[in-house]
Symmetry: D2
Subunit: 155 residues, 4 copies
Amino acid sequence: MPALNPQQWLSLKRIVRFGDTDAAGVMHFYQLLRWCHEAWEESLERYGLPASDVFPNCSQNQEDPKVALPIVHCHADFRRPIKTGDHLVVELFPERIDSSSFQVQSKFQMQGDEVAIGLLRHLAIDAKTSSRCALPTSIDLWLEASSLKLGVKPI
Amino acid sequence: MPALNPQQWLSLKRIVRFGDTDAAGVMHFYQLLRWCHEAWEESLERYGLPASDVFPNCSQNQEDPKVALPIVHCHADFRRPIKTGDHLVVELFPERIDSSSFQVQSKFQMQGDEVAIGLLRHLAIDAKTSSRCALPTSIDLWLEASSLKLGVKPI
Amino acid sequence: MPALNPQQWLSLKRIVRFGDTDAAGVMHFYQLLRWCHEAWEESLERYGLPASDVFPNCSQNQEDPKVALPIVHCHADFRRPIKTGDHLVVELFPERIDSSSFQVQSKFQMQGDEVAIGLLRHLAIDAKTSSRCALPTSIDLWLEASSLKLGVKPI
Amino acid sequence: MPALNPQQWLSLKRIVRFGDTDAAGVMHFYQLLRWCHEAWEESLERYGLPASDVFPNCSQNQEDPKVALPIVHCHADFRRPIKTGDHLVVELFPERIDSSSFQVQSKFQMQGDEVAIGLLRHLAIDAKTSSRCALPTSIDLWLEASSLKLGVKPI
């Protein structure tokens, strides 16, 4: 049964590794997009959704998921240099766009300062026909549960 | 002396490699951003600008370039699946934004169809102080020479 | 029809890109293994063997190759630092080990000096059952044609 | 002060991510070498050695470490396919080779079975002159503390 507090799957950590940097001494830009995807994967798993429900060719798969979720758009903004050994907090902001697409924004913070943001937009397609289809129920549940994070309003 | 025909440094080729793909059988999305950066590097070199004029820590560097060109924004749109062995044409569209920044859009085509686009936006900063500064002259020349591609108009 | 001179598919070039380096200012070690695999892919293609004959999920595949060629061992030795913009010559030395395995050594040279070597060893397995099987005929032909490079002896 | 039980910094975990795989549906081989390096970095940090003591260009660095530790050799053996979502245990076996070099073997296990091993060999060099030098004291201490793991013998 999934965890009840969205912070448990929407607030993650990442430590920058040496291989993520380039000869200018800072993180090489496209690694951030990799981190965004890995943060999304970690979030699903923490929520309670195993990789085999979402991705093809997992060890646990009896058969592959019927719906694929390719990325149709991504972007990132870089505000400050990020370096080897930096401890980052990653906050995820998932959002349902329509019945067949969603996006996840990841904000990377260091000591309270936002150092970069990245965003991945996914489209649900039938894994066999490649035609647009409804989001899988499990992803819909994760999106709904995640939205509770934003829904608490002061009286 | 630089080549005279912008097509020589703005129209490149790339063959998709097996390691660029993921278990869904298609290019893993963030590899495209890597390709964009590598296409920019190849373009500069074909134009006549050696890596050591632009990047730090090159073999030829007596001293590092005084200006660094970090990426402050990137985005990509994915229109069709890209697979191992695909032969892509990459067309670059560099654009000066202002005195201290520029961007390069890369359009990836396969057999005449656009399969993806990526864009990298760079800011010029003083390599020592990290404060915003003017674009290096060599980059300005490349931007100007590249703009001729778009400037030829029929009478 | 394949080219006749093995040099055409066993002697390649690579230019080191900025994203291949790390914050020590030199190529990050595991990129070399990527280059080895990409050099192998380029070699097959130059020889006349399309990617779709060797790798699964290519655009041209009617059906996937019956034999997969996973890597069971790799190693690399690094002799000198390799930096952004370096122009490398890559020489490939393919070798048949037995009826179901082969290896390819790649020597990376810069201005005549050997800067690194890498080696990938592949095993042929039935793509469905994963059991060891004979090398595909096309790979056998490439191995044989490649061995001619080494086979010319003075009288 | 460093932890006392080597298991705390020599036995780590890794979950395989989608971007680590290729179109054959399994981990793409060179990612394992990346994991080995990242496991080493994680081990040092868990032991109590900050990245800024070992790597150049860290946020905390007043000045860069006087000794660099480039990789001069690596190898890996792959025994079983590794797939998206797999939970791996990584066991590190560091070993001092001589006064200026050491190596770290990483064994990757899944549900008790060894699925792959990787090894990285590092040489200590003076960061300015690039000549071979003694290992940094901090690395020597980590090596010594790590060796206790192997040293406990039954009476």
